[in-house]
Subunit: 361 residues, 2 copies
């Protein structure tokens, strides 16, 4: 990224050679991400992040009286937009998930009617990591409802799941660079060729007039480099994390009583472990963990500031006395077995201490 903050400072919209050099870097990045997603370079729109990509897909497609189907556990960048669209005359159906956090395709099937324009289902959930049956949904739509568009918020899957849009059979796919160790403030929206989209930010003719604004060249270069690096070791890293995840989950459940894993044990991101600890507050666990140098989360970073349990955990119908004691751990590329042993040891003591002063236990 560094040269693009310094000597390569051209604006890709400028005709002079400094501009064209920046434009070349931008188009090289576009070809590289297209290769990973197995699509055409002109099907890639660079945005400022996953939220903008999600917003663009929904806002850019739907018109009054269109019907939109989403899962009940979508990221707020889909959920809130859908609710705003509903206020503006779009019909919205939220499909509940099963207790394991996974959506049944039959429920989508039942919700479809002649006005259904778009279905938006996330590839993997940001809080509980559960994987939705995207390929099956894509296959089903292609066979039975080829006119209905399919969007997936694949932000959590970036760099760790297969993002081949031909496998997923999606029309739109959102990504965010910082989820695969790229810079914050850069996102990608795949838009299938031929699908008409209205821009959300209008002005200049950047990104084929689908997203105005001088391109964040350094950020885009960094985003795509990070994705390419992740893609190279994706399968190996998936297996490594899956083993660590199993080790961690089993150890936590075995060593800490009255603990449950939220979301399907198998069909989940290999880096996600979301637990509920009976009778205590997630926030207190988190602050104690932080004191030990362990970074965890209660809900999602995007929903911080709210004391209510997230819509995702609520959708799993977790009993109330468990719900508030929920904590998400994320395993990443630097995580080792030794780290996890350290976390379990600390966590065990913290949960015990907090339960000792809890009125519920």
């Amino acid at each position: 990224m560094l040269p693009f903050f310094q000597e390569e400072f051209g604006n890709p919209g400028s005709i002079h050679s400094k501009g064209q050099s920046a434009k070349n870097a931008l188009e090289k990045a576009r070809r590289s991400v297209a290769e990973i997603l197995n699509c055409e370079p002109e099907e890639i729109i660079f945005t400022s992040g996953g939220s903008e990509s999600d917003n663009l897909a929904l806002n850019g497609i739907l018109k009054k009286d269109d019907h939109l189907i989403i899962s009940a556990i979508e990221h707020p960048a889909v959920l809130h937009v859908a609710e705003i669209l509903e206020q503006n005359g779009i019909e919205l159906t939220k499909i509940p998930v099963e207790k394991n956090g996974i959506l049944k395709i039959e429920k989508i099937e039942k919700a479809i009617h002649p006005n259904t324009k778009l279905i938006s289902v996330m590839l993997a959930n940001n809080e509980i990591g559960t994987l939705q049956p995207l390929r099956e949904i894509g296959k089903f739509l292609q066979k039975n409802h080829p006119g209905i568009l399919l969007h997936t918020d694949a932000v959590q899957g970036g760099g760790i799941l297969d993002l081949n849009v031909k496998h997923l059979k999606v029309d739109f796919l959102s990504l965010s660079a910082h989820k695969f160790y790229g810079p914050k403030g850069v996102g990608i929206l795949f838009k299938k060729k031929g699908v008409k989209l209205n821009p959300q930010i209008s002005g200049g003719s950047q990104e084929r007039s689908l997203r105005a604004g001088t391109e964040n060249v350094a950020g885009i270069v960094g985003c795509v480099k990070a994705l390419a690096l992740a893609e190279k070791s994706r399968n190996k890293e998936f297996i490594r994390l899956k083993k660590l995840q199993n080790y961690f989950v089993e150890k936590v459940l075995a060593e800490i009583p009255k603990t449950r894993l939220n979301g399907d044990a198998e069909k989940r991101l290999p880096g996600n472990a979301n637990f509920s600890f009976f009778g205590i507050e997630g926030e207190s666990i988190l602050l104690r963990l932080d004191f030990e140098g362990i970074a965890a989360s209660t809900g999602s970073a995007c929903a911080s500031g709210s004391l209510d349990p997230s819509h995702v955990l609520q959708a799993l119908k977790i009993p109330h006395d468990w719900l508030h004691g929920s904590i998400r751990f994320t395993l990443g590329k630097s995580t080792t077995k030794k780290d996890l042993d350290f976390v379990v040891a600390k966590l065990k003591k913290i949960v015990k201490d907090l339960r000792a002063i809890s009125p519920l236990v």
Copy 2:
């Protein structure tokens, strides 16, 4: 910016200390820009750039049947949004500018009617650099129409003009980091306290729920540092550039026959020199200049790819045989008198050569 790409990688939305450390950096940046703009930190919204800021101000305010007034030479990020809003039931008035590229306040006065909700006039034009009478407009509105909101696209003025919102008396002000030597992909929108704004990107509760998406911490830190640096030497740099500009403009007009300066000679950005050369094509001049290592522009980078003269130059009623031979030069912090002598020498020869093969001359 560098630490925020590396060790300080926290998400400002996370409660743990890595997150809080990022949040502190973000809020420190917010206080710093608020100081420069003479506003409250909570009146600052960080965006992905000037275009997003402009779009957010217009889209976030206007509802069906509202009346919007803009100048005819606004940046496309205002102009195109205004035209889209017009298609969706907003009444739009475009105020023409005089031949010097400056708008007469009486024409705004005449256009105002009871439904007028927002007036959007740029602080300085991106092609011809002309300065609009923003303070006078602000003063006039405050006195006569305190209910009408005022937005200014101040992108071109960032780091070189006074951005004090109390002086300008604006309710909204847009900035873009790369215009004052900050990184691309970061913008600022000042929104006056108490003015209700609908978000354009919805989802998480970032930026007081007015702009969802994980904050581009490194970019924001860089943006605000660049603005603070520019602010420190702003007056000195203004005077230095103004002298260079006068020298350059006089020399070009004196040494190259049939040349005109577009836009008011005095009331313009000190770094902007936009000329028309009779009978030749701007694109050809630009390519020849580029060959000599001189970066210039025909219109704006945001409108590249179009062969038509820009709406800005057209608004000045420049005769047709001059219009296509228009070139914009931008003087910046590294520009010296020696550079300008070099440009004039090359430009003189290029214009002569091109006129020798022009059917018009």
